[in-house]
């Protein structure tokens, strides 16, 4: 029912109702005008003729009778003609208006039918969409539709795409959650198993004092590792569930980078790894931006705490997967809309086939697993997520020795 009403509203927009009134009024006015004009002309003609008749009657008195009769007859005939003409015009006008109205009705009915068909089609297609089928394609004869309908169709399609995207996103999110749960439970199993083993050995009690002490110590280590793992997983799942709000603000690259380096400083020191900083300054040689100072002092737009965490994750990897007495070089530079931070190490490097996989959740490279037992494989995943969330990026390059991560972040205002 609603659909029908909508159809009428649509047609109402196309055929204007006021048109009937104007057409009718126009026709009647025109008829009146013609009749009055004709009457006026006939009267004037008649007056002229009477005058001539009078003059002729004076010259030919014997013809007075027939001349008068002739003029009277002519006058009557003219008047009758006008009356007939007026009647014809009047009825003709009505007939024309009737025909016009009929055509309009017919047209209206046709449009209404067409609209109903169009709307039915749309309804059918949206039903299909809601049931999860394919998105509607083209509607037959769509090119012939009025522009108004094409606009409606465009809007409808937009809505369809929106829903399809939404459905896809929901599906993807559901899958993500499922795989996150699977991944996490998998990650928890291994340390738990080794904890249980040392615990069971302790409970069995068939141990020397030294062994007993050793297992206790090991258990302690396991618990610490487990706690670290839990902390990382909690961070991860919070980020995944958007429980952590990343709030970009204007801050200094210097501040964020210093915080990140502080986080890994002790670990680097233990391995005698030096961390060097190079400032490449502004790239734009034409000096389009008059900002003074190097890139290290540049303003960036990001969440300081989370961005420092992202930098620290990359630095931590650099420390973890490098040998003793090596160097980590941090190079900063200012581009036009971005700053970049290159973090280059002299470590084990990344295999070419692993370049695309390293950002995957819980992915750990083959050599990385051999080199360091602890590690969950969320560092780079988290870093990339945090950076991309803020309009930044991270890419890795292979170097002759080790690897180089280039991180970009948008400049501050």
């Amino acid at each position: 029912m609603d659909r029908k009403r909508d159809g009428k509203t649509l047609v109402g927009g196309i055929v204007q109702k006021k048109m009937y009134f104007y057409v009718m009024a126009g026709l009647i006015l025109w008829g009146l005008f013609v009749c009055l004009g004709a009457a006026f002309l006939t009267e004037r003609e008649g007056a002229l003729r009477w005058q001539q008749t009078e003059e002729l009657s004076v010259i030919y008195p014997q013809l007075k009778e027939p001349l008068h009769a002739n003029s009277a007859y002519y006058e009557a005939g003219s008047r009758k003609g006008i009356r007939m003409a007026a009647l014809c015009l009047y009825f003709g006008g009505i007939a024309a208006a009737g025909v016009g109205y009929g055509v309009l009705l017919h047209e209206r009915k046709r449009k209404e039918e067409e609209t109903r068909q169009f709307l039915n089609e749309l309804a059918e297609q949206s039903d299909q969409l809601l049931r999860g089928g394919d998105l509607p394609g083209r509607i037959d004869g769509e090119e012939a539709f009025a522009d108004e309908w094409k606009a409606y169709l465009g809007k409808f399609r937009q809505t369809c795409h929106y829903f399809a995207d939404l459905r896809q996103r929901l599906g993807r999110e559901e899958n993500d959650t499922k795989s996150l749960i699977t991944d996490i439970s998998h990650q928890l199993k291994t340390p738990l198993a080794s904890l249980r083993l040392s615990h069971e050995l302790l409970v069995a009690g068939d141990l020397t004092q030294a062994e007993y002490q050793e297992f206790l110590e090991k258990e302690g280590q396991e618990i610490t590792a487990f706690e670290n793992l839990m902390q990382e997983l909690v961070n991860l799942s919070r980020l995944e569930n958007n429980m952590i709000q990343i709030k970009p603000e204007n801050t200094k690259l210097k501040q964020v980078l210093t915080e990140a380096v502080n986080k890994v400083f002790f670990k680097a020191n233990e391995k005698q790894i030096a961390i060097l900083l190079t400032d490449e300054g502004h790239t734009d040689r034409q000096g389009a931006d008059r900002e003074q100072g190097g890139a290290f002092d540049a303003a960036i737009f990001c969440d300081p705490a989370w961005t420092a965490e992202a930098f620290a994750n990359v630095l931590e990897n650099a420390v973890k997967y490098s040998g003793e007495n090596t160097t980590i070089t941090i190079t900063v530079g200012r581009l036009i809309n971005y700053v970049y931070v290159d973090i280059e190490d002299e470590g084990i490097g990344i295999q070419p086939q692993e370049l695309n996989a390293i950002y995957k959740r819980f992915y750990r490279g083959e050599r990385a697993q051999k080199m360091a037992k602890d590690g969950v494989g969320v560092g780079l995943y988290l870093a990339r997520k945090v950076l991309e969330e803020q309009g930044g990026n991270i890419v890795a390059r292979r170097r002759r020795r080790g690897s180089c991560f280039r991180i970009t972040l948008p400049c501050g205002h």
Partner: protein, 224 residues
């Protein structure tokens, strides 16, 4: 259907006999709406031919390319040209800007050709985002490579196509400019909800993509 692009069993061979080059050899792939997909391959792997076929710049020997529900090779020549103008944005390695037109004119050109009304506010917003506002009336010859490519990006975005195809967009740029241009491209595409398909031989910039497709000898060898 939220695959905006579907390539079905696409074939394009050049030459014959011993000189037969299988540029695209029964390739099928799909690209999701709103994602950034990189097609990676060495030079000569047929990736450029593949992109040209996807963009309707060439005709395949067989197979289908479906963009936004439309099998593009079922269209006539004129209709294909119209479709291309309306639905596909291109970003080329060598920028393809018209030398005699200003930056602004270059950006609005595709819309003008299509007889669409230019929404000046939107274009100005894109230009500001990409950092071109001051270069609005400059001629391409006065711009650096990075600036030219930024104009090309703005041109592709302004026409709000269904899909943007980029062929080695940073091939002619130095490493730092590449970083700038790629970051801009990626973030703008995300912001405007656009779909981007990029051809590259560089696995480093491919890391920025949401999905990576590797091609070798005209075939898709892996997808991740």
């Amino acid at each position: 259907m939220s695959d905006i692009l579907q390539v079905k069993d696409l074939v394009k061979y050049y030459g014959a006999g011993e000189n037969l080059v299988k540029a695209v050899d029964h390739t099928s792939l799909a690209v999701e709406r709103g994602r950034f997909t990189a097609i990676v391959g060495r030079s000569g792997s047929g990736k450029s031919t593949l992109l040209h076929l996807i963009g309707g710049l060439d005709r395949p020997d067989s197979g289908k390319v479906i963009i936004d529900n439309q099998d593009i090779y079922a269209l006539g020549k004129d209709d294909l040209a119209k479709f291309r103008r309306r639905k596909i944005g291109f970003i080329f390695q060598d920028f393809n800007l018209i030398p005699s037109l200003t930056v602004w004119e270059n950006i609005v050109l595709p819309m003008g050709l299509d007889g669409r009304k230019v929404k000046e506010n939107e274009v100005a917003e894109i230009m500001a985002k990409i950092g071109l506002t001051q270069k609005k009336d400059a001629l391409p010859s006065t711009l650096s490579g990075g600036q030219k490519q930024r104009v090309a990006i703005a041109r592709a975005l302004a026409a709000s196509p269904a899909i943007i195809l980029a062929d080695e967009p940073t091939g002619n740029l130095d490493s730092r400019t590449e970083t700038e241009v790629m970051s801009l491209l990626k973030n703008c595409v995300e912001e405007y909800g656009q779909t981007l398909v990029m051809i590259t031989h560089d696995e480093t910039i491919a890391q920025m993509a949401d999905a990576v497709i590797f091609v070798e000898d005209g075939k898709v060898v892996s997808q991740s």
